[in-house]
């Protein structure tokens, strides 16, 4: 074994730290503090992506030929660590971690030239049109229809859980182009250049946290060009599966969890415990925080196994193991933070959470974000394949072993 850190990384770390300390505008910093989910406040986060792109750092996971920084996995880990320490808003994943890498693998040269630079620069935001009211975990049963007509497809049906569709200017989606054969056959993958096509209607959905993050999108005879198709007609399931393997984008999530634990430790030292003293001295809180930190440390170790190509990280069930661990740990972090905030988490503070509103939070920053973060995190074990489906996959892989 060998856990030595490359001394050259120290200089790289200093360079990263300097940029992250000096480049973000006040709005971007505010957006970071007000981030309560995977999808950070939209406008400020896209502005931050533009700044990062000017530095060449918008897409740490992209190959250099497409505009990635060409970092080693160790440099990537240093960047993630330094990023998380500063509470900066995470970049929105749909373009950078999903559509972009998928196009590199499967897109035509025209599609790559047209879309990749604008994904990188933050000019485009792509919403994901997969789920439907009748097709969630059983995604392949989707029924939103596209019928070929000349050079176009004509789409009828609806999509749901299209994150930030009301802010998006583009959409990637799965449509049904055939009802013959297995349900996985007959699905086609489409890129939509606009969100203002005639017949396309977006309805934001207010979530548990009070924010319209998710949307429903309705299609009535929406005519889109066939040139937006990725892969062959009726072969979209293959494309979707290829995209899935990029969904995490190789970013480590443990640094963010460690940061939240550090912030909780800090908050606990000034949060009064019932019956006197501070929460930091409460033995039940200490035990629960200790279990959480130990569990995050074990997850960070698993991320290291993946990063270094160890056999444990090459397990056939790795994507499911990783998805369950990261989502459930994120929820556990959010539960402890919510318990720590106590009644201070009960006031609904939508205006104070809005970037640039100028409305001060009633209490601390921790109290402001703890409850919406908890509520939003309930989604993590539902989206991207529910954890029940993931457990089925892990059990199946054990049966084959």
């Amino acid at each position: 074994m060998n856990i030595d850190r490359d001394p050259a990384l120290a200089a790289f770390r200093a360079e990263v730290a300097h940029f992250l300390d000096t480049a973000p505008t006040p709005d971007i910093r505010e957006a970071g503090l007000k981030t309560t989910c995977v999808f950070a406040p939209f406008e400020a986060t896209m502005a931050w992506q533009k700044l990062l792109n000017q530095k060449g750092w918008a897409a740490p996971g992209w190959p250099a030929e497409y505009g990635g920084p060409g970092w080693t996995p160790e440099q990537r880990a240093v960047f993630d660590e330094e990023y998380c320490k500063r509470d900066l808003p995470p970049l929105l994943p749909n373009g950078l971690q999903m559509v972009g890498p998928m196009l590199m693998d499967l897109g035509t040269e025209e599609q790559k030239a047209k879309y990749l630079p604008r994904i990188l620069s933050g000019e485009d935001y792509w919403t994901q049109g997969y789920s439907e009211p009748g097709a969630g975990s059983d995604l392949a049963s989707l029924s939103c229809m596209a019928v070929a007509d000349g050079d176009d497809y004509v789409i009828n049906g609806s999509k749901i859980w299209t994150t930030l569709a009301h802010k998006a200017n583009r959409m990637f989606m799965l449509v049904r182009t055939s009802t013959e054969g297995r349900k996985q056959q007959g699905i086609t993958f489409l890129l939509l250049d606009r969100m203002d096509y005639p017949g396309l209607e977006v309805r934001p959905i207010i979530g548990l946290d009070g924010f319209p993050e998710q949307c429903e999108v309705f299609f009535t005879d929406v005519r889109v060009p066939q040139s937006g198709r990725v892969g062959a007609e009726n072969d979209g399931w293959t494309v979707a599966k290829a995209l899935l393997k990029h969904e995490r984008g190789g970013a480590a999530l443990s640094p963010g969890f460690f940061r939240k634990i550090a912030l909780m430790r800090e908050a606990a030292s000034t949060t009064r415990a019932p019956g006197g003293g501070m929460m930091a001295d409460d033995s039940v809180f200490q035990r629960d925080l200790g279990v959480l930190e130990a569990d995050v440390t074990a997850y960070a170790a698993f991320e290291n196994m993946i990063r270094t190509g160890h056999a444990l990280g090459r397990d056939p069930a790795m994507p499911s193991l990783n998805k369950i661990m990261s989502s459930e740990l994120g929820q556990q972090v959010s539960v402890l933070a919510m318990r720590l905030a106590g009644i201070e988490g009960l006031p609904l503070q939508l205006a104070a959470l809005d970037v640039g509103s100028g409305v001060d939070p009633l209490g601390s920053w921790h109290d402001l974000v703890a409850m919406p973060a908890y509520l939003n995190a309930r989604a993590t074990t539902i989206y991207a394949g529910t954890n029940e489906v993931q457990r089925d996959l892990i059990a199946r892989s054990l049966g084959q072993a």
Partner: protein
């Protein structure tokens, strides 16, 4: 970064795994535990032949100079078979201390004719050497008198010497090497739930030579020994977890009820998935901590965190393995119960999980190791 075993470590593991699979069957293990002296001389001699007794010792003293990863590589396999021979207690914990302070006593430990036991625990899982209360008083004519009681002294009844942690008049911790035959010691010996030999050792006016005091300021040495115990007990637990997961998955795939394998029921399938998650977390943390230890970077907090996790995740996984086996899991006749008891031992010895977790969760300044 690289968390793989070296080709040499893999080779040693292959030899040991082959030997254990062949000679350390469940039936053989039960025979060993039921008979005197509670471990097998034949197995012990084979360990000597494989170099396991030399592995933890520096090359300058005739050892093989094994590093913490070498020891973890071995301990994981010993846990997989719930081995009861006192390799951890004698060869890993005690022998290096004897090598450093009393090398003349080493040959017996190396050829397998003698063992030594670590008398540390004083009750309720002495997690921190600072909690040691047993006293060693100097005598006017030289030497010391020891009074007090040590608990869960592994391998005490067959050991020729005891390595005893006791507090000196100046408040510092002393480390003594005491003959098992020295008058004033009384042993209450027993078999532990996981098949090892343990004992409560009472010391009533046990008189020892000045030379018995190996180290008059041994806090750092003892902390390092506890770290070693934490790391290797965790390795044993992870090895046991791997076996438990395999046994449960195989049983669920072959046991049929209501006309289909029970693995086809989602309630069982999800339990198996949770077991896999626990195993992957525990083993990842074990390998990372082993790599830190090899680089000299593992703090007492790191090793205590590992031990607490191995115990917590191991118990969860082990309880599930018993549940998946149904009534059969409740019997002494299957390995599953023996392996559950091995992880329970790890969970409770050298500081129970809740204690370690609470220390980890203390405010930052306190949580840092001394």
């Amino acid at each position: 970064m690289d968390f793989s075993f070296t080709p040499e470590q893999d080779m040693l593991r292959e030899s040991l795994a082959r030997y254990l699979a062949r000679h350390y069957t469940l039936d053989e293990r039960r025979r060993i535990i039921a008979a005197q002296p509670g471990y097998s001389k034949a197995v012990w001699n084979q360990f000597a032949e494989l170099g396991l007794l030399h592995l933890p010792l520096p090359e300058a003293l005739g050892g093989l100079g094994g590093n913490p990863v070498d020891l973890v590589a071995v301990a994981e396999l010993l846990g997989r078979h719930a081995v009861v021979e006192p390799w951890l207690a004698s060869s890993v914990i005690c022998a290096p201390v004897i090598a450093r302070y009393a090398p003349d006593r080493l040959p017996g430990l190396l050829d397998g004719s003698a063992t030594c036991a670590f008398a540390y625990e004083e009750g309720h899982g002495t997690a921190d050497p600072a909690d040691i209360a047993m006293r060693a008083e100097p005598r006017g004519e030289g030497g010391f008198v020891l009074d007090g009681e040590k608990r869960l002294v592994l391998g005490a009844d067959t050991a020729s010497t005891l390595l005893v942690a006791a507090r000196l008049p100046d408040g510092k911790l002393g480390l003594f090497l005491i003959e098992r035959t020295a008058p004033g010691q009384s042993l209450t010996s027993y078999t532990t739930i996981d098949g090892r030999r343990g004992a409560t050792v009472r010391f009533d006016n046990v008189v020892v030579d000045p030379a018995a005091l190996l180290d008059a300021d041994a806090a750092a040495t003892i902390t390092a020994l506890v770290q070693t115990a934490h790391l290797l007990l965790s390795a044993e637990a992870v090895g046991a977890m791997e076996a438990l997961l395999e046994l449960a998955a195989t049983h669920a795939a072959t046991r049929s009820q209501f006309g289909k394998p029970i693995a086809a029921f989602q309630a069982i399938a999800h339990r198996l998935a949770d077991m896999k998650l626990a195993y992957v977390k525990a083993r990842s943390l074990l390998l990372q901590t082993a790599a830190l230890a090899e680089a000299g970077l593992a703090s007492p907090r790191d090793t205590a965190m590992l031990k607490a996790q191995a115990g917590r995740l191991g118990r969860q996984l082990g309880e599930s393995a018993v549940q998946v086996h149904g009534g059969l899991g409740m019997t002494d006749e299957l390995a599953v119960g023996h392996l559950l008891k091995r992880v329970l031992f790890v969970d409770l010895a050298f500081g129970a999980g809740d204690h370690h977790f609470r220390i980890i969760g203390r405010p930052a300044a306190d949580a840092m190791p001394a």
